[in-house]
Point group: C2
Chain length 158, copies 2
């Protein structure tokens, strides 16, 4: 069993290297596995596609969900070549896989110039203490839409 | 000036309502503004596109970056109909807009059934204390790719 975990992780690391070498983006790769099959793959494509959200995990999750025709990764395992940044960890929580294997650590990534630690620290702060200003406006108008959602009969929850 | 902030936020809230009514997904909308112009828009499309990452902010950031032909939102302002979840806040930090306005709060969203608070709490924990297991594997193999990135001469940093 641990041999197959290593096999999938080696594929994630191979995707990281290939994506780096072809200048898709940073050196990060990810695969999603269900019932022993790789159902989704991704590598970082931020700089080549002008998409700051195109991290390996986000690309692989989108790819796997498309393959499954579902917006959740029930019973899946994610293998990512590096410990996820806050955006990707949030995406993983929304996608709800069973578990996550990661290879490189946050500190390995930071040594290579990818410092997510400041984002983790910012997320822990209240809105008004963050470096990036976050300002509340028109809350009541937004609450009216939430009230309509609560009343909506034909909604799909997620 | 505050009138135009309200105008952009009302557009974000309108996108939230329209997306909900057309069953694109949850009741969330977002616009990205640069130099007084809306350059990107988005609404939640999770359930209609089977993409758990298709939150309003992610969709709007991708849309705005495509319009700019850039992977950062320098000098832009984001107006989102609801306080961002951890995934979207991470995406905002990577996109680097100047500031963020939000309308509904986390607690308003939670009342409507969208509870991000548990994700915020999970992110603050060390890997081995999270509900979703995160397991380290093949760290040295991943570090070799980071070492190659550090040495790479033709890389685009982000």
């Amino acid at each position: 069993m641990s041999e197959s975990h290593e096999k999938y992780m080696l594929r994630a690391i191979e995707l990281a290297r290939e994506g780096m070498e072809s200048n898709d983006g940073g050196p990060f790769g990810c695969v999603v596995v269900k019932d022993g099959e790789i159902i989704g793959e991704g590598n970082n494509r931020v700089t080549s596609t002008n998409d700051p959200t195109a991290h390996a995990e986000v690309v692989a999750i989108r790819n796997a969900c498309e393959a499954l025709g579902a917006f959740q990764l029930d019973g899946c395992t994610i293998y990512t070549s590096c410990e996820p940044c806050p955006m990707c960890l949030g995406a993983i929580y929304w996608a709800r896989p069973a578990r996550v294997f990661y290879a490189g650590t946050q500190s390995d990534a930071a040594e290579a110039g990818f410092d997510d630690a400041h984002i983790y620290r910012e997320l822990e702060k209240p809105n008004d203490e963050r470096q990036r200003p976050m300002i509340n406006l028109l809350r009541e108008e937004a609450r009216e839409v939430f009230a309509a959602w609560i009343e909506k009969l034909d909604k799909t929850e997620y």
